[in-house]
C-alpha cells in the first residue's frame, strides 16, 4: 500500500521539499537524512523565525515542527502560518505526551501529532498523506 502511494506522489510532485524546524540540531540532522533516504528534499531550521523568513512563494510542500522550542513554540508557529500560508500541511513532533497541545494542533488543522522517538514508516505515511492533501 505504501509503495503505491509512494509512486503516486512522485507522479504528482516530482520533488517535494519538506521543511524541518527543531531547536535540537541532532534531531534536525537525523530527520534530514531520513527524509533524504525516503526520497524527499529537505531543509532544516533550528529557529522558527528563520523558517518563516525562508517560507515564501510556496517554497515548502510540508512542515515538520517540534512542539517545544525556545522563543516560539510549534503552536505559535502554526498560528502564524494559518493566516499567511494556510495550505502548508503541518506535522508536529513532541517528546512529551502533551495531550492538550496535541488536540489544539489537530483542531487547528495539523496532519498529525507524532511522539518522539518517531517511527520511520509512520512518518512516511503521514508525509505522503500531507503531500496528497496539499496537492488536492
Amino acid at each position: 500500500m505504501t509503495r503505491v502511494r509512494h509512486a503516486k506522489v512522485f507522479e504528482l510532485t516530482p520533488s517535494p521539499t519538506i521543511a524541518v524546524v527543531d531547536d535540537d540540531i541532532g534531531i534536525c540532522e537525523a530527520l534530514a537524512e531520513l527524509l533524504e533516504v525516503l526520497g524527499f528534499q529537505c531543509e532544516t531550521f533550528e529557529q522558527p523565525d528563520d523558517f518563516l523568513t525562508a517560507n515564501v512563494n510556496g517554497a515548502f510542500d510540508c512542515l515538520i515542527t517540534d512542539l517545544n522550542m525556545k522563543g516560539m513554540n510549534g503552536l505559535e508557529l502554526q498560528k502564524r502560518l494559518v493566516s499567511t500560508n494556510p495550505q502548508l500541511p503541518i506535522i508536529f513532533m513532541s517528546a512529551q505526551s502533551a495531550s492538550e497541545a496535541r488536540s489544539q494542533a489537530l483542531r487547528s488543522g495539523a496532519i498529525a501529532f507524532l511522539g518522539k522517538p518517531i517511527n520511520d514508516e509512520v512518518l512516511y505515511r503521514h508525509i505522503v498523506s500531507a503531500l496528497n492533501r496539499g496537492s488536492v
Binding site: G26, I27, E33, L34, L38, N68, N119, D120
Partner: protein
C-alpha cells in the same frame, strides 16, 4: 657498717631492734645480665647523649620476684603483692639510691664470690643510715636471683604512720576514681630531656626529627606501674601484670601520638590532651580522649597520671546522626529529581529520537540493492554521538540520585552554577523561565563537595521555577550571581521574578517539614541549610525590592579550608 648473717636465701625477718626495720627484696636479673656485664662502673653514661642513662635501662630489666611486708611499708609500695611481683624495680626504687642499687648489682654480678656486698646511703626520703646489702642466691640453680636487704632508721616513728596514711589515701583515690587511670613513671624520659637540655638542645621537636629513635627509646623506658580497675575493664585485660611495663601499647594505634606525648612531656607542659585510637587487649579499637598530667617539682615526680575517657559511644552517635542527615539529603535529591521527571524524560528522548532515526535511515541504506556504506558510516558516527549525549544526561541524574559520601575538594563555584543551569535547561525552557547568569570572573576556589553544592543550587532554582509557575502573565526570569564578598568568602544568589516569600513564612522556610507546595516533603531548604552550614557558610532569604524572592549563601574560600569540618555524610 656491721656484718650481718643471713639465712640461706631467706626472706624472714631476722631479730633486729624495733627501730631498724629490715626490708628484703628478691630480684631477678636474667634480663639484666647483658647490661650488667657491659657496664663500666667508672663511666656509666658513656652512650650517646640521646640514650636513656644506663641506670634506667638496667633497672627497667631487673624484675621484682618478691618483697617482704617491711619492704612494702618502707618503700611505700602498693599493698597488694600482685601489683609488685614481676614488675621492673625501676619505678619502685627511691630516686636517691638508684645509683647505689645499680652499683651494688653490678658488683655482685662481676665478683666471683657469692658473699654479701654492702652500700651505705645517709638519707633516703624518710629513712636515715640506709644500708643496702646484696648477695647472690647460694643455690647455683638460681644464679639469676639476687637478694637485697635494706636496713634503715626512720626519721621519726610518726613519719611512717603519716607516710602510710598518705600512701593509702592516694592509692584509694586512684583505684576508686570512676575513670580509667594509668600511673606512669616518666622520670627516665625526664632525665634524657634534662641531659639534652644541658647539652644545649633547645628545640626538642627539631631534635626528634633528626633522631627519630628517641621517641621509641623514651617510650621503651617509660613504664606503667599501676592501673585501676576501670582501666582494666576499658582495655579488657584480665591481669594487672598485662598493663605493667612500657607505655608503648597505649600509643601504638594512633600514628604520631607517641611523639606528641613525648614532646608535651619535654616541653614541661602540665597537661597533654588528645584524641586517640587504642587497641584493647581483646582486640577492640576504641576512640578515647587521652588526658595526661605530668608532675611538677614539689609533687611526686615518679607519678605521671594518664586517664582515658571512652569517646566511642559519642562518636558512634555522631556517625549515626550524619547517616540520618545523609539519608535525608538523599531523599531531598530524589524528591527534586521526582519533580523533574517530565523534563528529564524529555531531555533523554531527544538523543534517543536522533539515534532511532539515524538507525532507521542506516537500515534503509543497507537494504538497498547497492548499500550506501559511506552514508551508513556517517550515520553510525552520529548514533554514537547521540548515545554519548544520552549517557551524559543519565550520568548527571545518577550523580544526583546516588547515595554517596561527601568528598570535599577545591571547587570553582561558577562551574557548579553552570552545571546546574545545564542540568535544569529543559526544566526551565519547558516552564518558559529564562535563566540569566552574572558570574564574577576568576572567582577564587572554595572547598566543598560538588554534588552537595549542586543540590543546593538546583533546589533553589527548582523552587524559583515552581514559584513562578503559579504566577501567570509575568516575565519569568531567574538571575544567578556569584561574587567575592568581604571576609574572604564567595557568595551566590538566586533571584526570581515570582511573587516572593510570604512575610509570615520568612522565619520558617528553612525549618524541616515546612512546605507551601502540595505534595512537597518540606525538607529541601532545611537540607540546603545544613549543607551550607557543613561548608562553614550561611544561607538566607529575603524579598527583592522590585519583587521576587532572593536566596543567597556564602562559603569561605579554600585557603580557610580548616573551617570546613569533616563534612562526610550527606
Amino acid at each position: 657498717m656491721k656484718a650481718v648473717d643471713f639465712p640461706d636465701g631467706a626472706m624472714q625477718k631476722p631479730q633486729e631492734p624495733e627501730s631498724r626495720p629490715i626490708a628484703y627484696w628478691q630480684l631477678g636479673i636474667a634480663r639484666a645480665r647483658a647490661l650488667l656485664k657491659d657496664m663500666d662502673p667508672k663511666n656509666p653514661d658513656d652512650g650517646q647523649e640521646w640514650q636513656p642513662d644506663h641506670l634506667d635501662m638496667l633497672l627497667a630489666t631487673v624484675q621484682i620476684v618478691d618483697a617482704n611486708d617491711e619492704a612494702i611499708r618502707l618503700f611505700c609500695l602498693p599493698a597488694e603483692r600482685d601489683r609488685i611481683i614481676d614488675r621492673p624495680i625501676t619505678s619502685l626504687w627511691p630516686e636517691q639510691s638508684r645509683a647505689a642499687l645499680g652499683d651494688l648489682l653490678t658488683t655482685i654480678v662481676s665478683s666471683n664470690h657469692t658473699g654479701p656486698v654492702t652500700r651505705e646511703i645517709p638519707v633516703v626520703d624518710q629513712l636515715q643510715q640506709v644500708v643496702l646489702t646484696g648477695w647472690r642466691a647460694f643455690d647455683p640453680r638460681c644464679s639469676d636471683t639476687v637478694f637485697v636487704r635494706v636496713s634503715a632508721v626512720l626519721n621519726t616513728p610518726r613519719a611512717v604512720i603519716e607516710l602510710e596514711a598518705s600512701q593509702n589515701r592516694y592509692r584509694n583515690l586512684i583505684s576508686s576514681l570512676p575513670i580509667p587511670v594509668w600511673q606512669i613513671d616518666a622520670r627516665p624520659a625526664g632525665r634524657i630531656f634534662d641531659r639534652l637540655r644541658a647539652g644545649g638542645v633547645t628545640d626538642m621537636a627539631a631534635y626528634s626529627d633528626q633522631h627519630p629513635e628517641i621517641v621509641e627509646l623514651t617510650h621503651d623506658i617509660v613504664q606503667v606501674f599501676d592501673v585501676n580497675n576501670e582501666a582494666m575493664v576499658l582495655f579488657g585485660g584480665k591481669h594487672r601484670s598485662d598493663f605493667i611495663g612500657s607505655v608503648k601499647y597505649l600509643f601504638s594505634t594512633t600514628p604520631g601520638a607517641d611523639k606528641r606525648v613525648m614532646l608535651a612531656h619535654a616541653s614541661g607542659a602540665r597537661n597533654h590532651v588528645e584524641e586517640l585510637k587504642v587497641r584493647t587487649f581483646d582486640g577492640r579499637v576504641l576512640d578515647v580522649l587521652l588526658l595526661m598530667t605530668f608532675p611538677v617539682p614539689g609533687e611526686r615526680l615518679d607519678t605521671t597520671i594518664l586517664m582515658m575517657i571512652d569517646n566511642t559511644p559519642k562518636l558512634e552517635a555522631e556517625s549515626k546522626l550524619r547517616k540520618v542527615e545523609s539519608d535525608l539529603s538523599h531523599a531531598a535529591r530524589l524528591s527534586t529529581l521526582g519533580e523533574m521527571t517530565t523534563s528529564i524524560a524529555h531531555e533523554i528522548k531527544q538523543p534517543l529520537s536522533a539515534i532511532l532515526m539515524n538507525a532507521q535511515t542506516s537500515l534503509r541504506y543497507l537494504r538497498r540493492d547497492e548499500p550506501n556504506l559511506e552514508k551508513v558510516d556517517r550515520l553510525t558516527s552520529r548514533v554514537i554521538e547521540s548515545a554519548q549525549r544520552a549517557n551524559d544526561i543519565i550520568g548527571r541524574i545518577q550523580d544526583m540520585a546516588d547515595k554517596r559520601t561527601a568528598s570535599p575538594v577545591a571547587l570553582d563555584l561558577n562551574d557548579i552554577v553552570r552545571q546546574c543551569v545545564v542540568f535544569l535547561r529543559h526544566e526551565s525552557e519547558e516552564k518558559n523561565v529564562a535563566v540569566k547568569m552574572k558570574l564574577q570572573a576568576d572567582l577564587p576556589a572554595i572547598r566543598g563537595d560538588r554534588i552537595q553544592l549542586q543540590q543546593v543550587i538546583v533546589n533553589l532554582m527548582v523552587n524559583s521555577i515552581q514559584a513562578m509557575r503559579d504566577a501567570s502573565n509575568i516575565h519569568r526570569e531567574i538571575h544567578l550571581e556569584t561574587n567575592v564578598i568581604e571576609n574572604g568568602r564567595v557568595a551566590f544568589s538566586a533571584r526570581d521574578t515570582g511573587t516572593g516569600i510570604q512575610h509570615d513564612h520568612m522565619d520558617k522556610i528553612f525549618d524541616g517539614f515546612f512546605t507551601t507546595k502540595e505534595g512537597g516533603l518540606g525538607i529541601g531548604l532545611a537540607i540546603c541549610q545544613s549543607i551550607i552550614k557543613a561548608h562553614g557558610g550561611q544561607i538566607s532569604a529575603h524579598n527583592h525590592p522590585q519583587g521576587g524572592a532572593v536566596f543567597s549563601f556564602s562559603i569561605p574560600l579554600a585557603v580557610d579550608s580548616g573551617m570546613i569540618p569533616a563534612a562526610d555524610g550527606f
